[in-house]
Amino acid sequence: MKLPLKGAIDCDLHPGMPSMADLTPYLDPFWRDQFENRHIDRMGFVLTSYPPNSPLTGRPDWRTPQGQPGGGLDMIRTKALDPFDTRFAICNVLHGAIALFNEDMSAAVCSAVNNWTAKELLDQEPRLRASILVPAHNPELAVKEIERVAADKRFVQILLPVMGDMLLGRRIYWPVYEAAEKHGLAVGVHAGSTYRWAPTPSGWPAHRTEDYVVQSAAFEGQVVSFLAEGVFQKFPKLRLVLLESGITWLPSLIWRTSKEWRGIRSEVPWIDRSPLEIIHEHVRLTLQPLDVPKDEPDIVARTLEHIGSDRMLLFSTDYPHWQFDGEDALPDGIPEGMLQNLLIDNALETYPRLRAGADSGDTGGRNKETVP
């Protein structure tokens, strides 16, 4: 169904990827020189997880005339913002920089992407917000980038890939969460892999379709990692947002971890209450791709009941990924009383920086302190 309310907050939107030529002006002289000499500036930085021509990566009517998914600002406005009466949309620029092994080079490109995002997107369109791209494989550099960008309140989240070097609950990443909590940033974990490890515990699948299907298992592993390591006890204000994760696997995880905790809690004594409660409080999931059968409103309604909370889901179009057709961004079967939460209120609760903007009547752009 179409959105029944105006002013929705789209929590997962992917602008067309900047080329290296677009990013070069945002690199410092050392890296500009390196990139030119080594021809790195001619490389595409396309993540293996999202080949541009794959049907999933771009809905046919959400591609440029040249076939690129997403496109620039004009397309974002006419295809992704206007049709849904979107008040705010969070841009997740999932750039290939995160897959570079050289941590300093990765950090340099991430910085360039963030600067490009601020200048070319946020400065131009007041409805847009963004996530901070960081080199997660070096938490020290990641924190440095967060500290650099955080002054710009239009950045509302830290962006991490669901499959990276290590499980994200591990203590080595805690400085990132400390910075997130300090600055009121959510931690967004997005589908996709840097392929440091095989996508399955039995190795490398043959097909991209498999890689995409088994992402939900990767999200499960991350939620359990955050839980088991006690991240939410250490950082009680932290919000973990799962981006492009699907949602129907969640009840099984809640039931399993809540049961396991009863038998295993002496191993993880910092888990001071049922995982059910912790997950309800701290974990959020974006709506698309909605993994339910078409025209089964009862399954949608029952699954939401199994999840057991109307505070967890955040509206998303996942533009330009091909998750639904036309403007039917919502499935049938969502209880009417849940729509306001799903479309608006849950995002405001999850993202303190959005809330601050909304409370002050800001539609963006005016309270900016641009990235240095």
């Binding site: 591990r170 498999e210 592993g221 809540s258 993994d291």
Partner: protein, 364 residues
Amino acid sequence: MNVTVREARAAQKLSFIDGDIHPAFRQISDLYPFLPARWREHMQTYGEHIRQGLTGQLAYPRMMASGMRADAFPEQGPPGSDLELMRKQHLDANGVETGMLVALSKGGMEERNLDFAAALSRGVNDWQIEHWVEPEPRLRAGIVVPQEDAAFAASEIERRAPDRRFVQVIFSPRATDPIGHRRYWPIYEAAERNNLPIGLHSAGFSGGHPSTPSGWPTYYMQEHYSFFTAMQTVVTSLIFEGVFERFPKLKVVPIEGGFTWAPALGWRMDKHWERMRSEIPHVKRPPSEYLRENFWFTTQPIEEPAKPEHLAEIIGWLGWDRLIFSSDYPHWDFDHPRHAFKFHLTDEQKAAVFRGNAKAVYGL
């Protein structure tokens, strides 16, 4: 919705079939009579060569008694090594009509030396018959094979299949490649030809890949959880590699891998199959149809939603004909047939889960 929480009194009224019982060696020398001298000496000199940092112990220590029921220790040897105690404590006490042996240890599934793996496989299969199935006709054996040597595995299946006391083929779902890969197809060909289901019991590390796609977890809580995500990727691989197009009669039984994830996985696979069909034209039908026709799931460790009726809804989506009750005796997270289900099952549902489905799958 109010549903009265009741015990499923299945075991009081009908004897049941147990889909997962673990036999153990009293000591490793129990296996020696079934190994050629060359490999007996190899075992004594070198031991197993596995893809893990610790040998002879678990790198994720279990929560109690090495993962065993504290009351299941016989006077000598580990739990599961004494047939008399197994009879007294489980087979007789709980009314087991037929029990499926799943021999997890020393069967070669995790061994890197494939010649040694083949010798272990034969040895463990002989041991199951002589030590367990011969003296206790309620028990059935599984043909344990090293999946990484598919040619040997197929030959071992052919060798054992005429002995109908072997009712399934068992190997590790945590292989070195996703098990839908063609290198494993000789196993499926032999299994389908002999009408033997493939039993895939959750395992820890066999192929050496970490148990999550983001590396190894820290705690046993996470490692245990990964049984259920690993099993989802196994189902996905078998379906998307086209195994059931090539072997349409193949039956697969994930054991101790959970099942409440299965309906959602079916929806997720269908959604992406529809979008990505040009990549996988060999998958002719919506993936959920293979899930519905070629897979059966054992119940233990059963999920326990705060509202038991939610579990009933999940099983309704999955199909009551897909579940096989299992206890996991003598492991610490044993499910009791009278207490596992926290909601009322109809007589038909009980008959299916505790008996009928297993009879159909295993041809009992």
